[in-house]
């Protein structure tokens, strides 16, 4: 049983100390690759510390790629390439942070911008110029909706690239979409019923619920949300991602869009929240007009975020409110300070204004297209084909891979994991209070390739082949 004495702890926190101990043992080979670590509960009890401390330690080690997890199994030591010899100086143990943990661990679930693709030098140049002005505006609290410079830059970006006409005042900046959802609930009312696409990300449901709102799932078919009485009689607010639904990739058809706009216009207090979260990465064909730009009755609230298009660790999102809601926003919620730091608001404003954002998006779109093509090529050349079918590959950063198999999704997922690939399935995203799974959604893996490098492709497909080929019909 893994045990560390606290005698060498010094002034470090428990968390730092344990982190350093375990990392040291991994790097020196004391803990061999794929060794199972004790469960959090057992380890906490053994060390006489809280589970939260162990959770944080394991979490940090996982974020840095020293260990990996398998659901319902536990934590394992990663196979780190080039381990440090036993007699290495402790200074050598400073986190050799890896973008991709170990060779045995590929993540096809999360979006991730890798360090080599973030425009560090341009960002650094802009913020250096900005800070060197020591401009008083940087220390003056912006309006609750955010710095006007950033809101103006976003307004022209939306006009040029999304066909959206709005005044900068209609744009509300916030520290991440999650935060803006909690504002929406305060703006529209927590007594209202919020209809969410089913399937959808579990996080959105949890945010609405944590904010105290009632949430119901809305059934979908291949064209988007179904315009049935069952779906639309109850909710006051409908939240959708019409340009690119997560996880199915479905694009809401134009007739459905008009149907939804009609529904909203029929009764006061009805609103549609349009989450356009990765519309920048439509890889093929023309962008699809936003609901916001089709709306003539001020019932659509548009959402988008830079956490997807720039980096998930830059917490800047925004919403565009229809004008009549703007006065309500200012009178009800105008007391809130904007949650994003001025330095980053002004940096991002210059980044957009000086066309770096457009260039970045173009570069990333090409990069993702290249990744997607390489991965699809590998799959088509592999033993998986034709037992597996690819769809919805033209938008966003993932595609669907439907397997011809009778194995349940849980088994397929476990097999992939045993081969070092973390992957989710459509069935993971259905609301548990609405379990009418359509057959067409079974055995469908969601392949998010944004975190992979080109070199990873061969290994990923080989791993998936080993995992799934024996299961294919």
């Amino acid at each position: 049983m893994l045990t560390y004495s606290y005698s060498g702890r010094g002034s470090e926190s428990l968390y730092e100390y344990l982190y350093t101990c375990i990392k040291h043992d991994i790097l020196t080979g004391v803990l061999a690759p794929h060794t199972k670590l004790p469960s959090k509960r057992v380890f906490a009890a053994n060390q006489g510390i809280s589970i939260v401390t162990v959770e944080n330690t394991y979490g940090q080690l996982m974020a840095e790629g020293y260990i990996y997890s398998r659901p319902k199994s536990g934590f394992y030591v990663s196979a780190i390439a080039g381990q440090i010899p036993e007699n290495a100086q402790s200074s050598d143990l400073i986190p050799a942070r890896q973008e991709h943990p170990a060779e045995s661990s590929y993540n096809l679930v999360s979006n991730h911008t890798s360090a080599e693709h973030f425009p560090f030098s341009i960002w650094a140049k802009i913020i250096r110029q900005l800070l060197s002005t020591q401009d008083a505006k940087l220390l003056i609290s912006p309006p609750p909706g955010g710095a006007m410079e950033l809101r103006s830059a976003i307004a022209s970006h939306l006009y040029n690239f999304r066909g959206i006409t709005c005044e900068p005042e209609q744009i509300i900046i916030g520290a991440g979409t999650e935060y803006l959802y909690t504002l929406i609930v305060q703006l529209l009312g927590r007594e209202k019923v919020y209809g969410l696409e089913n399937p959808s990300s579990k996080k959105i449901r949890r945010i609405y619920q944590a904010a105290g709102a009632k949430v119901i799932p809305l059934s979908m078919d291949g064209e988007g949300i179904e315009l049935t009485a069952e779906n639309l009689a109850v909710p006051d607010i409908v939240q959708i991602s019409p340009s690119h639904h997560f996880p199915t990739g479905i694009v809401t058809s134009v007739s459905r869009r008009y149907g939804l706009l009609q529904w909203a216009s029929e009764s006061p207090g009805r609103y549609i929240i349009e989450d356009d979260y990765d519309s920048e990465f439509r890889l093929q064909g023309r962008p699809i007009p936003s609901l916001f730009s089709m709306d003539a009755t001020d019932r659509v609230i548009y959402f988008n975020t830079f956490t997807k298009s720039l980096a998930s660790t830059i917490r800047i999102s925004y919403m565009v409110l229809p004008k009549p809601l703007l006065e309500i926003f200012y009178s009800k919620l105008g007391f809130y300070s904007c949650t994003v730091s001025n330095f980053e608001q002004y940096t991002l404003a210059a980044f957009i204004r000086e066309e770096y954002f457009e260039k970045h998006i173009n570069r990333m779109r090409n990069h993702y297209r290249m990744l997607r093509d390489a991965l699809i090529r590998q799959i088509l050349d592999s033993a998986l084909y034709p037992g597996a079918e690819i769809s919805e590959e033209n938008a966003g950063l993932h595609f669907l891979l439907k397997l011809r198999t009778r194995e349940p999704d849980a088994v397929l997922k476990e097999k992939a994991l045993k081969n070092g690939v973390t992957v989710s399935f459509l069935s993971d995203y259905y609301s548990s209070d609405y379990r009418q799974l359509k057959t067409s959604y079974e055995h469908t893996a969601i392949i998010n390739y944004s975190a992979l490098s080109e070199e990873d492709m061969v290994q990923v497909v080989q791993a998936l082949c080993s995992a799934w080929f024996p299961c294919l019909a």
Copy 2:
């Protein structure tokens, strides 16, 4: 006659040494409640030290509630409601939230860091170094509580400067105190009753109400919240700023602190939220121990913010949760992403770790002390004196100016505004559903001088003289 030998003094200053000796004797009962202390003059002569040293010592003991004064009589030992652990240290306060003032030449309402006092070049240097590493950690989403590097830096800062012992895991980083309050309501429950000091900033009330929580006002006297059944029977959570109440500047006495801790310990689910928002800027005497550090039963949640100590446009605040709440936080709210950008979290972490934060605080404290002294000097030299009386000038960034007048506060405010000065009055901060204004709070202007320059002083005092002199009795 109270006499202390200097043999045990060590490296402490005379002032600190005497403070510690007298506090020790009060806590251990050597000095019984209501014992009269020697007069400052006699005590100074007896100890062979200056009267100023004794003044400072008595002043600090009084600010912390260990002793009290009776006009024209002298200083007496307070009746402390319990025994303080020998190692107790540190203190706390609440975010002074201001309403947006009208346009005027001089603003005596809002806190503001002027551009010439923000450490632009150091901040720029750190962020440039950080971005030049292009370190992968910058693009890896931190745990929901924030980047461990920043949380560790804050934990050692709290230990060194506030006497607070906590693990980095207990610290939760958020984009501003306002955001963290909305998390608190989600964590503790919006069905709970939140008791807020009356008076207090209107913004705090609005945030709790917007988050769906029930809020009640708690009556105060000169020692802080009154420990009456009327105040304490109803609320589940009490939020206070014991180190420096906004707007009155009251420091909660030690016996009240123990009374509140006792109240919290009497029933499960009771918590005290301690907002320490400007404890860094205590201009005279030692900081006052925090409730968090006095708490033995895990019922105090500590809040502080860099929006006051660095710049209001840097949106980084934090709370320290007691360990038992931590697991609840992670299971209920662990799905939220941290709302602060990684770039700023890592920049601030280095800023604290490399002791720039400490230096900045020291520089700003000197600057504010200089501003305060200059403004008070101007007032004492003006026609306002002796028709106006200054109090609570030793903590935070404002003092009170009580006017001998019969004009209502609204008229006084209007007259100041006509002369180009925006100023608020104590009466502005009382909850409207609790209008039992104590007479002592009338005609009392709140003078926040943080946004003024030294050159402004003459104009401000001239303007206030023109506005108010004709009204003085």
